[in-house]
Every structure is written in structure tokens, then in C-alpha cells.
Amino acid sequence: MRAFLRVLRREVLIVAHRPLLWVATIGVPLFSALFISTIFGSGAIQNIPIGVVDEEFTPTSRSIIRTIDSSPSLNVTHHFTSSTEALAAIKQREIYGYVVLPHNLTHNMVQGTRATIPYYYHYAFMSIGAQVQSTLQTLLTIISIDPIVVTANQMGVVESVVESFIEPTNSDIHPIGNASLNYGTYLTEPFFFIMFQIVILTTMVYALGTESSHGKEWLTTANNNIFTAIVGKAVPYVCSFVASGMAALYIMSKIGNLTLTWGLVGAMVGLVVASISLALFIYSLYPHMALILSAVSMIGSLGATLSGVTFPINSMYPIFRHLALLLPIRHFTIITQNIFYTEGGYGAVWQHIAMLASFCLLPFITATRLRKSIISGSYEKSK
């Protein structure tokens, strides 16, 4: 116990004397939380500038434009005389979509002869393109059936009857966990923890790597017990990252839309311990700071993809589904998605809780290898 306390005290002093470790353990997580909580603004993609190519110039076409403009998502900012002009404007990002109201549209719609309302949306920018598409599709579909409803009304048919005839079925869609489909709600919490995992991995490898300048001091302080050395080294980082993780959660709940729950706090602690353990494990396999730092920075960056937040893991090649399980962030994401979206209780994700916890065992598997490296001084020679 005394040896453990000595290692702990030594590590606290090392952290206190290295500003970079302060910045990495406290400053970077807090900056990341502020960044990700504010980057999306309100999170609602609104007033997207779009254009209209009005080939008709009739009261009906102007009414259609007013209907489109009244949507909170869209803002008709440009009027064009041809599609070529509209395409040029979309390339210059002046608009993100446009609707073409063809010549004779009103006549064709009223007469019921074949008419088409084409619209175009920018899909190189996916989030904004999807919003333009869904809004225009809904609005224009309603507009397209309007003449039929008017004709029916003139014949004395109740509006609901003709609507039921045109659309006999309707789907009531409930987006669970993010009813307003807010971009900020979707990305804030997962992307903070993706960045958090990267900084934990790189900081821990850096902290281990700088031991090379202290020779065997780390091990001798621990009475040559590598397990005491590992635990004593890890505990101050676990504490500081958990503290900054708590502060980050608080920031995201106050500035962003995050709902703070004890389950989320528990998962965060699990992520911190698992990431520190993974860094210890990887470093022990090959104690070469520069090399391992490069490796963990690349592995950590892959977390953005392999967490499964952006592109579904199950849609990837099967090998990547398995490889993703080697990253703590994947298990963390599944656990938190269960908390926020499906509310299935911990029983539904017990395997992932167990796997996240099992990362703690990793450093002890390679402990003797690390001990040998420290004694032989092999990692001091690394460039």
C-alpha cells in the first residue's frame, strides 16, 4: 500500500510539473465540450436558401412559391429564368436547391393532363441536401394534389373524403430520442466522447513515454512491483479524466441538449478506465513513445467511424464489425444509445458493459513485458 501511495504521489507531482498534461487532461476535454456544444448553433437546419425557376409567371406559380417560402426550413432567396442559372448558383453555394415550375404547369394540373414538378437539391452536402429534399417532397406533394381537392370541393365532396381517396394510407412517423431531428442532439454527445477517447489514448501514451527520461525510477518507487506501478500511474489520470468528463457532461447538458443521467456518468467512467487500460496495453506491447503515439492517434481517429454513430456498423464488411469491438468507444456508444434511444435497460447491453470492463485486464496481461522493458531500458533507446 505504501509503495502504491508513493507511485501515486510521484505521478501527481509529474502531472503538476508538466503543463502539457494539465492541458491534455483538463483543458482539451473542456474545450472539446464547449466546441461540440456550440458548433451546431441551435442544431435545427432552417432558412436554407433555395431558388425557383418560374417559367409560368401565373398567380398559381406565385402561390406555390409563397407556400414553399412559408416553410421554416426553406427560404426562397433567388428567382431564375433558366435551370442553367440555377445550377450556377447552386455551384457557388448561393442556394442549396431549386424548384422548376414548368410552362403550362397550372393548366396541366387543373386539366389533369400529365404534369411534372422537378426539383433539385445539393447532395454533396448531405445533411442540408436531405433537409431540402424531405421538405420540398412533402410541400410539393401537397401542392400537386391541390387541384383535385378543389375540383372535388366544387362538386360538393368533403375534403377528407377526397384526401382519403388520394392517400388511402398514412404513416405516423415517430423519431425516437430526437423528435425534432436536431443535428446537435444527434452528434454532440457521441462526438465529444470520440474526441475524449483520442485525447485519453494519446495523453496516456505520452505520460508512459516520458518515463524513459526517468530510467527505472517508476519501478523502483513501486518496490519493483509492476502491478503497483501500473495502478499507481493510472489512478491520477483516471481521476483527472473522470473529473473533466463530468465537467464536460455538465457543459453539454447546460449549453447543448444533453440529458444527464447516472447511466451516462457510469458509461463515461467505464470509457475513461477502458481507454487508459488500452493505452497501457498497446504501449506495453512495444514501448516506443513516438511510434505508439502515432499508432494510437490513428486508432483513436478511427473511433469516429467505428463507433457506428455516422455509418451503421452492420452495413460495413463483417470484419469491421468485429474490429470495432476492439475500441472502447464502440461499446460506450452502444451503451449510451441504449440509454437515450431504446431505453432497453442494462440487461440488453450487458455484453458491452462486460467488454468495456474487461479492458481493465489488458494492462496486466502485458505487465511483465513492460517490466522487462523498464529493467532492460530498451524503451529509453527508442527514437
Partner: protein, 388 residues
Amino acid sequence: MRRVNNAIRLFNISFSKELRDIATSLSAVILIVGGMIAYGVLYNLLYRPNIVREAPIVVIDNSHSRISRHLTSLVDASPSAEIVATATDLGEARSMLSRSEAVAILYMPHDMSRRIGRGEQAIFVTLSPTATFLYYEATVEAIAEAMLALDSDIREDMLWTLPITLQEALSNRTTTEVVGNALFNPTKGYADYLIPVVFVIIIFQTMVMVVSMTSGGRRAMGITPLRGREIGFGGRVTITLARSATYCLIYSMLSIFLVGLLPHIFDLPHLASTPKLAMLLLPFMLATSLFGQAFGRLFNDREAPVVLITFFSVGLIFIAGISYPLELLPTLWKAVHYLFPAAPATLAFVELNSMSSSLADIAPQLTNLWLQSAAYLLLATLPSRGFR
């Protein structure tokens, strides 16, 4: 003339020394080659499916009617979704969502068929978690397609609800079609959208890491460019530009693979011509290498910059204005967009390569990158103390 000769000599010495430093550092080689080649290939493989298909859906059919069975088969037939199970109640279906066995619930109430029979609209419910937006979108798309097909199939059965005069009027007319067209990404592929962004971020991230590691290493070892001799501003500029030239050369060669070859292999957008790409990549690489040298001056060891730069590469995706529109970013973050070379370069790269824009279209980004190059050159060279 003598000054010019000296400057050329200094440039050559600094260039070859930087090249040697990189070639003899295993971590730098791994970062550059691993980043540009392994990362480039890996990301393409990760997003290779490109489009999300077969979103697994669980069905609760309380209607047990011809219509509900027809709707189920239509959803199942959609390429976007797949019916994976039938649940008896909401609890069972929700537990499937929790176990990630399904990503949406299609709930058909008992009165569905009866409502159609009465001439009323039949409502069914779709419940879908938004944890992965692409699954949500695939589900909504599959349901919308199925609904359109179902409506068209059962409309004839509902003709009786309308008066004869209206039936006759409707029988002679066709409905107006609404046709949406996705520009610059007609397949709506996720890889087509994201991978070009990732390419630029890879170049930025790995180059800044290697540049700042190399410069941090020089500071840690106390190495001076001219063996302790005083270097004037002109000399510092020459040395800094020579080092940048080293990185630009290495990365230009590797970029042939990353942005030249990979898009052809993986069928990604590649609309920009080589000269256009060169006109963008040159100021981008120059600005990035100068940014790395200026950033590296903040550190006295080789590894510290890596700790502070990697995490932010994820944030750069949002700052770039591709994932989230630049116009909607708060003012502060919009300003940050103009400070990091990766942000305007990503935007310009997507415009050139995915939208076939002209150089005139990306003139604001090119101007920004050249201005950043000048600013970071100044920051990397101005204070004479500690120049390594």
C-alpha cells in the same frame, strides 16, 4: 548575386536535411505512409458499402389483413429495408431495438383494414430511433416507397367513396408527378460524400503531426540550423520554405495515390482535372506545412504536438462546412474556418472534385489558403529566439 547563391545553398542544405530527418524517423515514416496509404485504403473499405440498405425492421401486425400483409411485403421488397421479425406487442419489439436486432418498428393497428373499407384513411405507425440517422432515413424511405405503392394498389377499391361525377372526372386525369433529383451525388452515397473530406483531413492531420514532431525533436535536442550562428530573417524564411518544400514534395507524390488513384479504384467522385487539383493542393500543402512549423514552435519535445492536434482533426470535419453548412455555424466557429488550412481546402476540394466547379468558383478558398501561408510563414519565422 552572392546573396542569391547563399540563399539557394541554404535552401538546398535545409531541404536535404529535412528529408534525411524524416527518412530516418520511423514514426514519421509510419505517420506519412500509414496515413496516406493505409488510412486512405482503410477509410474507403470502411465506407465501401456506400449506401445503407436493408435496415432491419420488426413488424407488429394487429390488423392481420390483406392490406397489412401487402404493406409488410412492400416494405420488405424495398432495397432500403428488410423485415427481420414479427413481434406480438410493443414490449417485444422494443427489446429487439435495444438488442440492436432491429432499427425500427412498423406497427399496424387492428382497424387498418376496417378504415379502408369505410373509406377512411388508414394510419399505421413507424417508430425509429435516431441514433444512426442513415438507418432512420433508410426506414423512412422504405416506408414512403411502400406507402406510395400500396396507395396506388388500393385506390381502385375506394372509388365507391366518391360520387359518380367525380369518379368520371378523376378517371380522365393523371396526377402531377413530383420528381426530386440529387445533384453532385446522384447515388446518395455516404462514401461519395464523406471520403473526399477525409482525404483532405488525412493530409492535414498527418502533415501537421510530422512537421511539428520533427521541429519539436530539433528543439528537444537543441539542434540549430547553422550550428549556433545567428540567422537573419531572410535565412529563417529560406530555411522554413525549404522545409515546407520537403513536405510538399513528399505529400505531392503520395497525393497521386490518395486523391488521384484511390477515387478511380473505389469509384468515388473525381471530376477535377489534375492541373485544377494541383492549383488547390499546392497552397493547401504549403499552408499546412507552415502551420505545422508555427505550431511546432510551441513545444519543446517531439511528441507533445501529437497529443494536442489529433483530437481536433475530428472537429475539423464540422468546421469545414461540409457536414454542417458553413452559413449556419456560429460566428466564432465560422471565423475558425478561415484559420485552419484544412477547412477551406476541404470545401474547395469537394467543389472541384464532386461538383466540377471551376477555379474561379473556389477563388475565395484559394485566396484564403495563400493568405494563411503568408501568415503562418510569418509566425514560423518572425521571433528569432528559439528558431530551430
